[in-house]
């Protein structure tokens, strides 16, 4: 009897268990019951206090179309890059070669394992780097048509600021290289205005400061003529000559310029051709400009006889 009772109870219990299970089954098949949906438990659960913060820095590479992107996001595990040109990637750091110049909006989406996302976008302006053309300096009064203008030191401790004797015995060529058909104006040196063994407070130096592109090859060009022995007697020690230099720097006092010349100019040409008055020799002297591009031209003579200079130019070698 007792056993019978137990069996009954079990039967009763199992039937209610079946009913309950059926309920569960039904409920589990019913997605509308929110509370039964899979979710993190509410009690003691914490919200995502460290959501991802997306960020990146773009760097142009040697190829101007290709950029690398350094991912500096925090609290993220997965990343999606969108480069704004249709291409994308999912690695941590990004890299992209853009199809052409233009502005591209690059976005990085950083995601953590809780599904929180953060997106950072930045516009990348892709431009071909411009190589600036070398400066073509404007040589003032390069043809000596304006007398001594623009060739004087502003001061000269122990010397004269007078740069040369003005002369009508310049080159037959105009500054643009065309034939003038007759002599043009020029600059002239004599024994009393010479440097070298004749250096005195009366020695004359033609000086002009110019600004050119730094560290770039340039050419110093001018014409010179020295009287022949038949035209005028006398040879200075070392030969009658016209010296053209590019100095490393610019100087307000002539004495400082001469000191720089003595220490070593960037370039120096010593012209020794004595072909006679108005028979000019063209000098083209290659030099590389200095770090700042602030240089100066210095021209002087060491000569017993009259010597002439005309058409001074400085221009890029390429």
């Amino acid at each position: 009897m007792k056993n019978n009772n137990i069996i009954k109870r079990i039967a009763k219990f199992s039937s209610s268990a079946v009913a309950l299970m059926a309920c569960f089954l039904l409920a589990s098949c019913d997605p509308t019951i929110d509370s039964l949906k899979f979710d993190l438990p509410e009690a003691n659960s914490k919200e995502d206090l460290n959501p991802p913060i997306a960020n990146f820095a773009a760097t142009e590479t040697a190829d101007y179309l290709t950029y690398t992107f350094s991912n500096t996001s925090s609290s993220a595990t997965d990343y999606t890059w969108n480069y704004g040109d249709g291409s994308s990637s999912v690695g941590k750091d990004g890299s992209n070669t853009f199809p052409a110049e233009g502005t591209y909006t690059v976005s990085l989406t950083a995601i953590d394992k809780l599904g929180k996302t953060s997106t950072f976008t930045s516009d990348i302006v892709v431009v071909k780097p411009i190589i600036p053309p070398s400066i073509i300096p404007d040589i003032l009064n390069g043809d000596f048509s304006d007398g001594q203008d623009n060739w004087k030191f502003s001061s000269f401790s122990g010397g004269t600021t007078s740069p040369y004797n003005t002369s009508g015995d310049g080159s037959w060529l105009n500054y643009d290289g065309s034939d003038n058909g007759s002599k043009t104006a020029g600059a002239k040196w004599t024994q009393s205005t010479s440097a070298g063994v004749y250096t005195s407070s009366k020695t004359r130096y033609a000086y002009q400061a110019i600004l050119i592109t730094p560290n770039t090859p340039y050419i110093l060009e001018y014409e010179y003529a020295i009287k022949t022995e038949a035209e005028q007697d006398g040879v200075a020690a070392g030969g009658n000559r016209i010296i053209g230099e590019i100095l490393n720097g610019q100087f307000s006092d002539g004495a400082d310029a001469i000191a720089s010349s003595t220490a070593g100019p960037l370039a120096q040409d010593v012209g020794l051709k004595t072909l006679g008055k108005t028979t000019f020799t063209k000098v083209t002297k290659l030099f590389t400009s200095n770090a700042t591009g602030a240089v100066s031209i210095l021209i002087y003579g060491v000569t017993d006889v009259d010597a002439y200079v005309d058409n001074v130019k400085v221009y890029p070698a390429n």
């Binding site: 960020n55 820095a57 760097t59 590479t61 040697a62 690398t68 992107f69 350094s70 991912n71 500096t72 996001s73 925090s74 609290s75 941590k92 750091d93 730094p214 560290n215 770039t216 090859p217 590389t288 200095n290 770090a291 700042t292």
Partner: protein, 489 residues
């Protein structure tokens, strides 16, 4: 009453004594940096102490500052030049983390370098704080220049390794936590570095001060060379021009020249090529260095760090010319795989004999100086300044400087130098001199080169690995005020 005379005596003595400083003594424990220095001589000893902070302590205690002796861990080992004896991406040791670009904020070498170099900054600040005791203006300018050189040197290395940093430009008290733990923008740090070095260049001019200069201490040329490197790192058109002029000033001074034999650069102390070196004395515990022995096999304690990678061996073999034999050698006792050791800093010039570990002296107390700036660096910086960030230069002045270094190695020089040529030349010339990592970053090639190197060696490299983590110690002490570098949290 028989005690009355004693009492009188005691009282009298007491009264007399109270007239002296007896009641307000200067406690011996209160001699601080603020009141210790009273003369220029004392301040100069303090300055030597600041150099000692660069020099570091020769022992294996992680709590001691090892200064420049541990620099290779955070620079060369984080480049493609060196690794541990057996590179392993799974090696989570402090050295292993550095070679495989998986550095943790708790890395002890990172912390050691960080504290060592802030120690230099602290000691330099103490000197600057006490300049008032120097009456001679030239002496004051020279001491100021040296202290500022050291501060700039330390900050320059730190800012390149860690990025934004706390700006400590005076002696601060422990209570000033806002200064200690506020990271300011690296551009502000660079402003301080440039200002300090400008000051050092003018303050250390021997023509003005009349003081002798030492290659183991800051000099005008050292300040100029370091400033040139700072300007190259800043990398604006204006800074390239400044760097070029600084290099030309050193070159035109004609006080330095390349050694004909590459070997002599490293094994003739303070030779004509050295501009600034940290001086060590062999055999003296407190004055010697340990890195020479650490880079050998079973000579130092670690037996095998800063080993040359096969990557750098290939570069040196192809481009080293006459520099090869003095750059690296095969490890004589490595069994199995062939390994390569640095040959520039054998302890006191002894290479350890046939077994690589037999010495007449004490290799762990090596006296080899650590070269920080040498003339070849100035020449190649000159070329770099003229290149000014472009990919190539054919300027004759740039080629001429480059050629001097190539000529010494017995190699030809092209008429036009590409940026990649220059980077490679620097890699070979300065291999194992802790320049490679900084060069890669400065040339903008760190990401691509280190990524490819990591791929080939099974390491994981991310762009954020170019900055070291701020030591966790500092983050903790800051109570959350200091933020970590990206990629380390």
């Amino acid at each position: 009453m028989k005690y009355i005379k004693y009492i009188t005596v005691i009282l009298t003595v007491g009264v007399f004594a109270s007239c002296s400083d007896f009641l307000s003594p200067a406690p011996s424990s209160s001699i601080t940096s603020g009141n210790y220095y009273t003369t220029a001589e004392e301040l100069e000893t303090g300055l030597i102490g600041a150099y000692a902070a660069v020099k570091g302590i020769n022992d294996y205690d992680k709590d001691n500052n090892h200064g420049v002796q541990y620099e290779f861990y955070v620079t060369e080992m984080r480049s493609d030049n060196t690794s541990t004896k057996s590179p392993d991406s799974e090696d989570a040791s402090d050295a292993g983390q550095l070679e495989s670009f998986s550095v943790l904020p708790t890395n002890s070498f990172v912390l050691n370098y960080y504290s060592s170099y802030f120690q230099i900054i602290y000691r330099a600040n103490v000197i600057l704080e006490n300049l008032g005791v120097v009456t001679d203006t030239n002496k004051a300018a020279a001491l100021e220049g040296e202290a500022k050189f050291l501060r700039a040197y330390a900050y320059f290395n730190l800012v390149r390794l860690f990025g934004d940093l706390p700006l400590i430009n005076r002696v601060i008290s422990p209570a000033e936590t806002d200064i200690q733990y506020t990271r300011v923008s690296s551009s502000v740090i660079y402003d301080l570095i440039v200002a300090d070095l400008d000051n050092a260049v003018s303050g250390l001019d021997p023509d003005i001060t009349g003081f002798a200069t030492y290659k183991t201490r800051a000099s005008k040329a050292a300040a100029q060379a370091l400033l040139a490197k700072v300007h190259l790192t800043i990398g604006t058109p204006d800074s390239y021009t400044k760097a070029q002029l600084l290099c030309e000033s050193i070159i035109n001074s004609q006080k330095f020249s390349l050694k004909d034999d590459f070997h002599d650069v490293f094994y003739t102390e303070l030779n004509s090529e050295i501009i600034f070196a940290i001086g060590y004395e062999n055999g003296i515990q407190n004055n010697s260095q340990l890195f020479s022995s650490e880079w050998m096999n079973a000579v130092g304690r670690t037996s095998g760090v800063n080993y040359a990678t096969s990557d750098v061996i290939a570069a040196i073999d192809a481009n080293g010319g006459q520099r090869v034999a003095d750059s690296y050698r095969e490890d004589p006792i490595s069994t199995g795989t062939i390994r390569y050791q640095v040959a520039k800093y054998f302890p006191n010039g002894e290479n350890g004999g046939i077994d690589g570990k037999t010495f007449t002296g004490l290799p762990r107390l090596a006296g080899n100086d650590w070269i920080i700036l040498r003339y070849a660096d100035v020449l190649l910086m000159h070329t770099e300044a003229i290149m000014a960030g472009a990919s190539e230069t054919s300027a004759s002045t740039a080629v001429a400087s480059f050629k001097l270094v190539r000529d010494r190695a017995g190699l030809n020089t092209p008429n036009s130098i590409k940026k990649t040529d220059l980077l490679l030349e620097r890699r070979v010339e300065f291999a194992f001199e802790n320049q490679r990592f900084f060069d890669l970053v400065r040339f903008g090639e760190a990401e691509s080169v280190l990524r490819a190197f990591s791929l080939a060696n099974d390491f994981t490299f991310d762009s954020t690995d170019l900055l070291l983590p701020i030591p966790q110690n500092e983050i903790n002490l800051s109570k959350g005020a200091m933020n970590q570098n990206p990629g380390y949290n």
